[in-house]
Amino acid sequence: MKIGSRAGLAGWLLLLPLILWFVAFVVVPTAILIGCAFCDRDDLGRIVYHFTWENFRRTVDPVYVTIFIRSIACAGLTTVICLAAGFPAAWFIGRAKPSVRSTLLLLVMVPFWTSFLIRTYAWMTLLKQEGLINGLLEYLKIIRSPLPMLYTPGAIVLGLVYAYLPFMILPIYASAEKLDGSLIEAAHDLGAGPLRVFSSVIVPLTLPGIAAGVLMVFVPAIGMFAVTDLMGGARVPLIGNVIQNQFMQARDWPFGAALGVVFLLLFAIVYWILQRAPGAAGPHHD
């Protein structure tokens, strides 16, 4: 409930720093990004301010369309796995007794607060050719020679799921915890089977949490080049890696910016769709 009196001059002046900050460091950089996408580069990789459609023409080259699709598929798969694996756990924790709940929450938060890089690195040590998993499988005589597990698309998805799972669990947990249990009881009393209860009561009521979780996993996962670089070894190019490369080795900032703009459009669309999810009021946190 708002107390709402109209903001006077003082109010606007006080809010100005905040607005200016965001204009300066969000709006203007984005504008520059879009502008740069129309520019060219010189021999040394400096930006040349001279209008061209070339970069955007390159982004619709089948090579890059494939990469976008692959990245979206990868992120999509990651999101689905996180949702499928995380929802039951988040639900269980959200509905558990307070004492149990707080311990479980602590257990989930600790990996969340441990650097995601460290956690990705942990998987690298397990998956490499002479790593633990191969060692174990060979010791148990399940396989005869080591399996190549690192630097595959599977490893990338695994790395992404591992990095983002807590981001899916926490918002869903928040929704699940707030859910009024009597609604579920009422559904049971009305004779609904467990599946019906799930689809008609539980899912709609946890939708804000689900939407928040999806938004916090899907879009970031597309651009997360650190994980894909470590787990994929530059062998499976995803859009985040290609963009990063344009700003580093390939020295083609305008092309990187063009890819970035396309990514931005994609993100805007996904955001818009998720905002339409009934009850979703944007991501919320503890």
């Binding site: 050719q129 080795q249 083609d252």
Partner: protein, 340 residues
Amino acid sequence: MIRTLLRGGWLFLLAAAASLQGRPEINLFAWSEYVPQKVIDGFTRETGIAVNYETFSSNEEMVSKLVAGGGDYDVIQPSEYTAEALIKANLLAKLDLARLPHLRNIDPDLRHLPFDPGGDYEVPYMSGTVGIVVNTAVVHDPIHGFQDVFQPSFSGRIIVVNDNREMVSWALATLGHSANDINAETLKQVRPVIAQWIKLIKVYDSDSPKTALLNGDVDLGVVWSGEAAILWNQDRKFRYVLPAEGTHRFIDLLAMPVGAPHPREALQFIDYILRPEVSVLISNEFPYTNPNLAARALLTPEQRANPASYPAVGKLEIFRDIGKQSAAVDRLMTDLKSAQ
């Protein structure tokens, strides 16, 4: 309790901020795995000058950051062709050679490079070749050149350095061209060759290609000679082969960008590196071909006998600046690597 935390935090911030200002320092921008921590620490201990060591994995990445105007670098480590491009673009500062007394230790052969006849803009750091390393315990086929490496039988077992220009030069060699013969026509010719190779490569790594070879993740590859030398020292099963189709040598240099904030300290650092005993430390950790003759005299016979460090080979060509074509090379490699 919160108040104590806040107070403590504030004091920490002040102390940290104080520790950051006012002490002399230089910003070193060099290849990762190329400047030993021992050398940096030794320099700081002796002169009191702190060294901020930022790394890059390719010449292109270095140039990218340099021209972005983002970095305040004092000493950079370009390879010869990059130095040539930077000199042309007036981005390198002339070095006050009077402040580099140990420069006399450098092989005179390397002192008057074609793009810097006066030797004013750069100082050789390390030299080397790019060649094939084979884990002979696993690979029994004879490997003599690039064609032998990029065979379907080795699919998924190959590592290469993550360097666009390098890969193009190898493809050019297999087609009988010089490494500097880069134009629209030759790029068109190498395109299918590289496209084919990319399908077989498992790992791209310029930072530490020896790791994947040691791990057994890959069995052979095309890597920097220093990495091959380290592998040879670890285990004689790793043989270094200079490709029959032809190869080039590289000379990595130390240079100072125009507008470096600490030019005096930068020269001090460069002269420090040129001391024979310091140069030996570098050779110990990164066994490339040391251009410092006084340092070479201090190496052990075993080090000098390392076939990857000091290959028995005549004068090889070096990369030259290819100007506009470097953009074409980058585009080609981006397109090919993305098309997997």
